[in-house]
């Protein structure tokens, strides 16, 4: 058969699939930029403790609010600490906490959404109303309450952030499931007598996975912003651990004469968020979930 040569696309290993997706993402300028920023931040998070030129918690009153120089590249803050050192270290906690937070959000939000989409009826109604109710609570207030009751340790922050950011994923996963369950292959699986679990695992997840992963990637960047807001309000990372939100909060009063202390963490935070957003967009396009199809002319 001649067709064989064209359709040589055989079943690929997960690794081959992933590398293909990454190559497709990088083939677009926006995807390449996003990926590079994200990879840069991740590498930085790993190696920053070893390359930091100064001690991040060394307070020196004689060096208070120094302008950027050859010794202190980004200047120093109001306690005389090196801003460059603190900036490159400042993303570590945020990245770790929000990464695991988004994983938790993806897991519970995705599974609950798929389950609700599949079973429908009363269970779906009740669960979705509860989710709606949570959506109407300002999350930052609820977070403040949780943090003030349970403390600001990582064990509290990760599940709490994961919970609050998973609500949106429930809706997305449920909508994606609704698209799939009307298809005949689900009817066919039902008619054969497969269990709900088997239908979710074999038939639905492979078809909604992409949409949920993309949504999760977007949530990651939002969660990063949320976490930094907590730090900014003083409920995130506790000093002296360097953190962008905290650094912005500390330096913002001195912005008019020591702008460097506030600009450096802002650049760090916003570049990471932009990087994640661009990557998520490129990821969606590489998976074929393109939301910007052109209308016919």
């Amino acid at each position: 058969m001649k067709l064989d040569n064209i359709y040589k696309e055989e079943k690929k290993s997960a690794f081959a699939k992933l590398s293909e997706i990454i190559i497709t993402m990088a083939s677009r300028p926006s995807g390449l930029i996003g990926l590079s920023i994200l990879v840069f931040h991740i590498i930085l998070a790993f190696i920053s403790p070893y390359i930091a030129p100064h001690d991040f918690k060394a307070i020196d009153p004689t060096l208070m609010l120094q302008a950027p120089s050859a010794e202190y590249w980004f200047g120093t803050d109001d306690l005389g600490r090196d801003v460059f050192t603190r900036t490159i270290l400042g993303g570590r906690t945020a990245l770790t906490i929000t990464f695991f937070g988004s994983l938790i959000a993806l897991l519970w939000g995705g599974l609950l959404g798929i389950f609700c989409g599949l079973v429908g009826g009363k269970i779906d109604d009740v669960v979705m109303r509860i989710v709606d109710a949570f959506l109407s609570i300002p999350w930052i207030l609820a977070m403040l309450l949780i943090v003030s009751l349970l403390g600001t340790s990582t064990e509290v922050l990760i599940p709490a952030l994961g919970f609050f950011y998973g609500k949106g994923i429930v809706r997305v996963a449920r909508a994606a499931t609704h698209d799939v369950i009307a298809k005949d292959f689900i009817v066919s699986a039902r008619a054969r007598g497969h269990s709900n679990f088997s239908i979710i695992w074999n038939e639905i997840i492979p078809n909604v996975r992409d949409a949920i992963l993309v949504e999760g990637a977007m949530r990651w960047s939002w969660m990063l912003l949320g976490f930094s807001s907590l730090s900014f309000l003083g409920f995130g990372v506790s000093p002296p651990t360097p953190d962008w939100g905290l650094m912005i909060s500390n330096a913002r009063g001195l912005m008019s004469f020591a702008y460097w202390a506030v600009i450096a963490p802002i650049v760090g935070l916003s570049s990471l968020i932009i990087g994640i957003n661009l990557t998520a967009d490129a990821f969606a396009k590489a998976l074929g979930i393109d939301r910007s199809t052109k209308a016919p002319v």
Partner: protein, 674 residues
């Protein structure tokens, strides 16, 4: 030459693949459309017929581009025109009627408003004149009481009426050329015949040229003066429609006509091997080479040119057409199917009613359904082991609903479904045990939807094997390969995804999955209607072969009476969820028959210009079955009187064992209406 209104010259359209190769969708097409002529463009999906039709109004789909050639309309090339100039031509000079009028009409605007919009754009009439013109147009497309139709919204009309509105809108600009892209494909048989008849009338009445694009040779035969047959982006045959249908001199058309089931012939038609090549895969030689029965070495290496034969007034792209010229008519041979049914009864439906009515709170508490006029009512059918019984009817006749109930996807309201005389299957999925589910398997209409796109063929077929028989490892693999061979697919298909298969191959995988459960009964829901004509016969033949090998019973649902004629032993005709006629298929297709069967049979379109459809009943669509009396009273042209409106007609038996439910005595029914 002034009578040519559209001239397509050396047109090639294609796209660039990821590797940068130029892949052609249309290859060097040249043809002319004359004034007042109706040209049918026929081909399988992917043959480029729609791309050609769209190019004729200066539109090239996103992602495709014109490689060379032009489409001349009034001696200006549409493909190079600016969009400002195109606007003046589209709608005014060239109008398009889309396939799905329901989607083409704006849902939130009244019909009259939408037609008025077209009139404002394409004519210089003032308000009063436009008002008159709207009812005139609606009258012309034979919509009842135009004044009320104009005030309705698209969703308030039936499919056929929506299509008529689309025709009226297209006529608003009094175009010189009408492009019709599969305008009747989604419609019911009777509606389809009516719409085609209307199009014929309009072509004669207004003198508009039409280009009719369809995969359905039956429809094309009814409307066109000239036929263009396309195959993988090329014109392979072009000529007067009668000659092409009566004496097809290209092997593709020849095979195609042979593979279409006909009403007049019981039995399965010959199938054509293979499927159409994907664009860009043919490097040298004739594109039809590997499916052709008449090919030789020459065809493999050289591609034939389109040759004009003066004495036949036909253009053909084939080296060996002479072999076919002498064959007077595509003589059709069919494999008569043997009735393999045994006396043993396998499935019995007695007094089955099914309702879609929503349960009220009280009904939910008592777990009952109260609906006096359910969607499906009084279904009594005995199905014998090994037979193929077909349920036919238009959309809304309840045929798929009955299938769903048998499969357990839908609860019955009343009545019993019994398997093997003693097992009760009236319950739904949750209450059936795995073995009850195994014995009944489903094959769906559209294999694109029934196969999980993220599973390989192996995973798809493994599902029932793992579920019902708990197979693992080597044994599982062996069974999968076995099943694939039974549906004539090789072992190398196991690692492919559905998107890498052609339509016919996908349906074969679906068939293999159904047979994997070793079922006693297979429910086939319109299994061939999503397939190309040339593939349809192959799938039907495969189903028949498997049935003979395994002794399976088929319940076959279809709206296509010719397909049903080809494969079934017994036919049950349904209207509005009520049985009209049940009997051996040979007898159902002969007189005497129920008035509704007569309507259905009359509306079948055959690829033969001499057989015209008979339009007996109006193509009204009824929303709900009537509460009292005969289900067909609303459309019947042979109503005997009040009795039809009050009493449910009795079953009458003919000599040949055919049961008809009608108040008209058998002897009366025997008389043909025409």
């Amino acid at each position: 030459m002034t009578d040519i209104i559209q001239k397509v010259k050396n047109l090639s359209i294609g796209f660039r693949s990821k590797k940068g190769e130029e892949i052609l969708i249309l290859k060097n097409i040249s043809t002319n459309i004359k004034k007042g002529e109706t040209v049918g463009i026929v081909g399988e999906s992917g043959s480029g017929k729609s791309t050609l039709a769209l190019a004729m109004m200066g539109y090239v789909k996103h992602g495709l581009y014109t490689i060379e050639g032009e489409c001349q309309f009034n001696s200006s090339n549409l493909l190079k025109m600016k969009s400002k100039d195109l606007e003046k031509i589209r709608g005014r000079k060239i109008a398009m009627i889309p396939q799905n009028a329901g989607q083409a009409l704006t849902p939130n605007l009244k019909i009259g408003y939408q037609i008025d919009e077209a009139l404002q754009l394409h004519s210089d009439l003032n308000e009063k004149e436009r008002e008159k013109k709207i009812s005139e147009l609606l009258n012309k497309v034979r919509l009842p009481s135009p004044e009320t139709i104009a005030l309705r919204y698209p969703h308030e009309l039936s499919g056929g009426q929506q299509q008529r509105v689309a025709v009226a809108m297209a006529l608003a600009g009094t175009p010189d050329l009408l492009l019709l892209d599969e305008p009747t494909t989604g419609l019911d048989v009777t509606t389809q015949a009516h719409v085609l008849e209307l199009l014929n009338f309009i072509a004669k009445d207004t003198g508009t040229s039409m280009v009719y694009v369809s995969h359905d040779l039956g429809a094309i035969a009814q409307v066109s003066d000239r036929i263009i047959v396309m195959y993988s982006g090329e014109i392979v045959l072009e000529g007067p429609s009668r000659d092409i249908l009566k004496r097809p001199i290209h092997p593709y058309t020849h095979g195609l006509l042979k593979s279409i089931p006909k009403l007049s012939l019981a039995g399965l038609p010959e199938s054509m091997p293979g499927s159409q090549p994907q664009p860009g895969t043919i490097q040298s030689g004739c594109s039809f080479f590997d499916r052709c029965n008449f090919s030789d070495e020459n065809c493999k290496n050289n591609s034939p040119k389109l040759e004009f034969l003066k004495d036949l007034n036909t253009s053909v792209r084939c080296f060996n057409y002479e072999k076919l010229v002498n064959e007077s008519q595509a003589s059709q041979t069919v494999n008569k199917i043997k009735n393999k049914s045994q006396d043993k009864e396998i499935l019995n439906l007695s007094e089955v009613s099914i309702s879609y009515a929503k349960q009220k709170l009280l009904d939910q508490i008592f777990n009952r359904i109260s609906d006096d006029n359910p969607t499906v009512k009084d279904i009594n059918i005995n199905i014998k082991k090994g037979e193929t019984i077909a349920l036919v009817g238009e959309s809304g006749s309840g045929k798929s609903t009955i299938l769903k109930s048998i499969a357990g996807l839908l609860r019955t309201k009343d009545g019993l479904i019994r398997f093997d005389e003693n097992r009760n299957l009236s319950s739904d999925l949750k209450e059936r045990d795995p073995n009850d589910l195994r014995i009944i398997q489903l094959i769906f209409q559209n294999p694109d939807e029934s196969l999980n796109p993220n599973h390989t063929v192996e995973e798809i077929i493994a599902q029932p094997l793992k579920l019902y028989f708990g197979l693992k490892g080597e044994e599982l693999k062996k069974n999968i390969v076995d099943l694939l061979q039974k549906v004539r697919l090789g072992e190398f298909y196991t690692s492919r995804y559905p998107r890498q298969l052609s339509g016919g191959e996908k349906q074969r995988v679906a068939v293999a999955r159904a047979f994997a459960a070793k079922p006693d009964i297979i429910l086939c829901d319109e299994v061939t209607s999503a397939l190309d004509v040339s593939v349809q016969a192959a799938v039907l033949n495969l189903l028949q072969q498997l049935k003979e090998d395994f002794g399976t019973t088929y319940i076959f649902v279809s709206h296509d009476l010719a397909v049903v004629r080809a494969i079934s032993d017994r036919v049950a005709v349904l209207y509005q969820g009520r049985l009209c006629e049940v009997g051996p298929s040979n007898d159902v297709y002969k007189f005497p028959s129920h008035p509704y069967t007569e309507v259905l049979l009359g509306a079948v379109l055959e690829p033969d210009p001499d057989i015209k459809p008979k339009l007996v009943a109006e193509d009204i669509v009824e929303e709900r079955p009537p509460e009292k009396g005969c289900s067909f009273q609303g459309r019947c042209s042979r109503i005997v009187g009040d009795i039809c409106k009050k009493e449910i007609p009795p079953w009458q038996l003919t000599d040949s064992g055919n049961a008809i439910r009608c108040h008209i005595p058998i002897k009366e029914l025997q008389k043909e209406q025409f």
